[in-house]
């Protein structure tokens, strides 16, 4: 088999996977949920009924403060008279940004390092595996908190980096396992025999075949990251006001839960659940469709 043929058969594999995926109801539901959230995030200015940071208390006074859901404000308002629904809609951007950029950071670190470890083995593998094991041994929420604390200028970028720096190890593990498995395969032997340069073998021949589990891992990881952001916000780390972050909204709104003012904390919580659920259904579906077995 030549490299060309491998790629062709690879292509049809993806097509078969899509056919399998389409038959899976939960997976399709997940895809719909994720697409809908992405759509809401992209078209937020058109979907949102109000300005997410406009404080109505200054113009409308106390009536606008913590108002229960009405037709004007479907999900009520918060302490400053900001429309919660609009904040949730814009908040989708924040959550997706955190999910996507943190995942990017973890991919940028995890894929090359995992590939190196898996392909070369030996000392290189020992070293990279050692780093992976060290980071795995950390209690990860504390590690993220500590990394966030390192930066004097708290911003979303800091959160991306902090999460990415911790998350890359699970990507690296998956990639490493795939490379160990694939490097012994015939087509790699063939490519080596043809005298192709190593970087070409690694990136053009092996990597595309190792992608499926990475995609699954990254998709499932998105949900975890969105939850993590909420946890960080609850502890007071992460997004800066007046950013409409879902986690920040819950942590501000939860203080009013006991007094029957439920809308401030419950709606963003539901938004998080919806989004994470979508990514989890999607990830599960992808895993089944791509026939990936995730090793730890």
């Amino acid at each position: 088999m030549t490299a060309q043929q491998i790629r062709k058969s690879g292509g049809s594999l993806w097509y078969e996977a899509w056919l399998r995926f389409r038959r899976n109801k939960l997976a399709m539901v997940g895809l719909f949920m994720v697409v809908s959230i992405v759509g809401i995030a992209i078209f937020a200015p058109y979907v949102a009924p109000h300005d997410p940071i406009k404080q109505l208390i200054w113009t409308e006074g106390k009536e606008a403060k913590l108002a229960a859901p009405t037709t004007a404000h479907l999900m009520g308002t918060d302490l400053y008279g900001r429309d919660i629904m609009s904040r949730i809609i814009y908040g989708a951007r924040i959550s997706l940004q955190i999910g996507i950029f943190s995942t990017l950071v973890s991919l940028l670190l995890g894929v090359p390092l995992g590939a190196l470890a898996g392909y070369f083995g030996g000392k290189v593998d020992d070293f990279i595996s050692w780093i992976i094991n060290v980071i795995f041994a950390f209690p990860f929420l504390l590690f993220v908190l500590a990394v966030v604390a390192v930066f004097k200028n708290p911003s979303m970028v800091v959160v991306y980096i902090a999460i990415g720096v911790v998350q890359w190890v699970s990507i690296a593990r998956v990639v490493r396992a795939q490379f160990i498995y694939l490097r012994e395969r015939e087509f790699v032997e063939a490519a080596k025999a043809l005298g192709l340069p190593t970087w070409r073998i690694v990136f053009v021949h092996i990597l595309p075949n190792a992608l499926a589990p990475v995609i699954v891992q990254a998709t499932l990881g998105m949900g975890g990251i969105i939850l993590l952001e909420a946890g960080l916000a609850f502890l007071g780390f992460g997004a800066q006001p007046p950013t409409p972050s879902w986690g920040l909204m819950i942590s501000e709104g939860q203080r009013y839960l006991g007094q029957g003012i439920w809308w401030w904390a419950v709606f963003p919580g539901l938004a998080i659940m919806y989004t994470v659920l979508g990514f989890n259904f999607l990830g599960d579906g992808l895993r089944d469709a791509l026939d990936v077995r995730l090793k730890r």
């Binding site: 200054w58 302490l79 400053y80 004097k152 708290p154 800066q240 006001p241 007046p242 203080r255 006991g258």
Partner: protein
């Protein structure tokens, strides 16, 4: 006739006393444990090390100082010192100690090392010197006491004692100062300056923090970290009530630690905690609606402000005076307090809180005046507004106030961004002056304007010593220095008022609010009175529970 009158009067008094006790059932009840909430585990309860309110709460239960702040924060009252007098133009202070005050006899169910002996003047000298040995962060409050410098650098000077503290006899203690310092007696009411028994302090060394022994109404009993700290009644406490009954009434006080405010409030409603201090803004309306009769609030002697960096950066120097003033005119304090803080924090015109010694009714401060703000912005070269970054430490109230001011000044084109930082990081930045605008608050340590004006604005205190806004004005410095050493009270207050007006004219801060204290308690908690000095200082020795 005279005689008859006297008898009648005695009879009437006796009858009415009898009547009162029957009719109102206001007789104290002995026994019971009071559960007092705190938001975190007290970091330290060794009075030498205390710097936070939670730990202070515990210290007030177990220790006593020479003098105490009175309930209204206007001055001090006798505690372990029955009387005192100043001499030599305010350079020598002599304290006459109360007799019959004993250290705790028991702690954690065991006899203490001191065995419950009487407190003598030598114990006071030891306790003050111990502060220096233990590197107390508050020892320097007494740096005007003669020999302080020699004693802290005793490794070089070989000083064996703190020379300015003298034991005259068993019941007389004398302080000699380097220079006349008028607020001296007020400083001694600070909760670090309490008496501890040498035997127990030396037995435990650094571990004294976990085995505190003092003279206060309650003795240390048990500390389950992050859960509760239990204290027991001190049966030999020196105070008795007006009817001659031994205080305290309570069998003990438990400090209960619950970190989440939402949960704390629910626990209160459920009856699981007896006292909840410093009620967060989010529960205020609910408390007003449902628990008004068991809720106390009063202005606290403290000021909430945004500091400008007067030395370097975007707001520094006389050339930016109009900009600072513009900012002061741009903020609608009353409205923000009303909308975000339930109107609990009164707007501040200057630095000193109302009711505090030296407070100036006629101070010319800044009212909300957007027109004037715009005009001043134009005059200072920013007709369309400017951008500024505010640093706040991580706390829901500071975030809320910040967000409200952010939205409000935006109308004038002031684009204020908010950076939320850990307290430690913020202190670092402020110490070094690497800030333009920062949120800070000041709650009084001792009842004298010196604690505000000298500490927070004198040019020698720039940075960590309190002057975070790095304000410096020779004219101002001279006034507060003069007020420090003058012994004439009225004259001093006049000097302070003059000094404060200079500060306000210079717009050294963005003056915002004065703090307010609050305490919510269960209906069965009786005779509880929150003092102006802070909810965490509420005395519990004369409180009882009646279920």
């Amino acid at each position: 006739m005279k005689k008859h009158g006297l008898i009648l009067l005695t009879l009437a008094l006796g009858l009415s006393a009898l009547f009162a006790s029957v009719a109102f059932a206001d007789e104290p009840v002995m026994g019971g444990v009071l559960r007092w909430h705190e938001i975190n585990d007290p970091p330290k309860v060794d009075p030498a090390q205390v710097t936070d309110t939670t730990s202070s709460r515990v210290v007030y239960l177990m220790f006593d100082s020479l003098v105490e702040n009175d309930a209204d924060g206007k001055g001090v009252t006798p505690a372990l010192a029955e009387s005192w007098e100043g001499s030599d133009g305010g350079k020598v202070w002599t304290f006459h100690l109360r007799k019959g005050v004993h250290f705790h006899k028991e702690t954690e169910g065991q006899p203490t090392a001191n065995g419950g002996r009487e407190v003598k003047a030598a114990d006071w000298k030891y306790s003050f010197e111990r502060l220096v040995y233990e590197n107390s962060p508050r020892a320097y409050f007494l740096d005007m006491v003669k020999g302080y410098q020699d004693f802290i650098s005793r490794d070089e000077t070989g000083a064996k004692e703190w020379a300015g503290i003298k034991v005259v006899d068993d019941y007389t203690l004398q302080f000699e100062l380097e220079y006349p310092f008028a607020p001296f007696v007020a400083v001694l009411a600070y909760n670090t300056f309490v008496v501890v028994p040498k035997e127990d302090a030396e037995k435990w060394g650094k571990e004294f923090n976990f085995h505190p022994v003092g003279t206060g109404p309650f003795c240390f009993d048990k500390w389950d970290h992050d859960q509760k700290l239990a204290t027991k009644r001190n049966p030999d406490y020196w105070r008795k009530d007006d009817a001659g009954r031994q205080l305290p009434y309570l069998d003990g006080v438990e400090i209960v630690v619950i970190p989440d405010p939402t949960i704390t409030y629910e626990e209160y409603k459920k009856g699981n905690i007896d006292c909840y201090r410093d009620i967060p803004d989010e529960f205020y309306e609910d408390v007003q609606a449902n628990y008004k009769s068991v809720f106390q609030e009063r202005p606290q002697l403290g000021t909430y402000y945004y500091g400008f960096n007067n030395e370097m950066g975007d707001f520094a120097g006389p050339e930016k005076l109009k900009l600072r003033q513009a900012f002061n005119y741009a903020v609608d304090r009353a409205r923000i307090s009303d909308l975000v803080l339930n109107g609990r924090f009164p707007a501040a015109r200057g630095v000193l809180p109302p009711g505090f010694p030296g407070y100036n009714e006629n101070l010319k401060g800044y009212e909300y005046n957007p027109e004037k703000a715009k005009e001043l912005m134009k005059e200072s070269g920013y007709p369309d507004g400017f951008e500024v970054e505010l640093l706040v430490n991580n706390n829901p109230r500071h975030r809320a106030v910040g967000e409200a001011i952010q939205a409000q000044v935006a109308e004038l084109g002031i684009k204020m961004s908010i950076k939320v930082l850990d307290w430690g990081v913020m202190l670092d930045l402020c110490d070094r002056g690497e800030v333009n605008l920062f949120r800070m608050g000041w709650v009084v340590d001792y009842a004298d304007p010196d604690n505000f004006l000298y500490v927070l604005f004198h040019s020698s205190n720039k940075g960590a010593k309190g002057n975070y806004s790095r304000y410096s004005n020779p004219e101002f410095d001279k006034l507060v220095e003069q007020a420090r050493v003058d012994t004439d009270y009225a004259k001093r207050m006049e000097l302070y008022q003059k000094a404060e007006q200079i500060l306000v004219d210079d717009a050294a801060w963005l003056f915002l609010f004065h703090y307010s204290n609050s305490l919510l308690y269960q209906p069965w908690v009786k005779n509880i009175h929150m003092p102006a000095f802070g909810d965490y200082t509420t005395p519990l020795y004369n409180v009882w529970v009646q279920k």
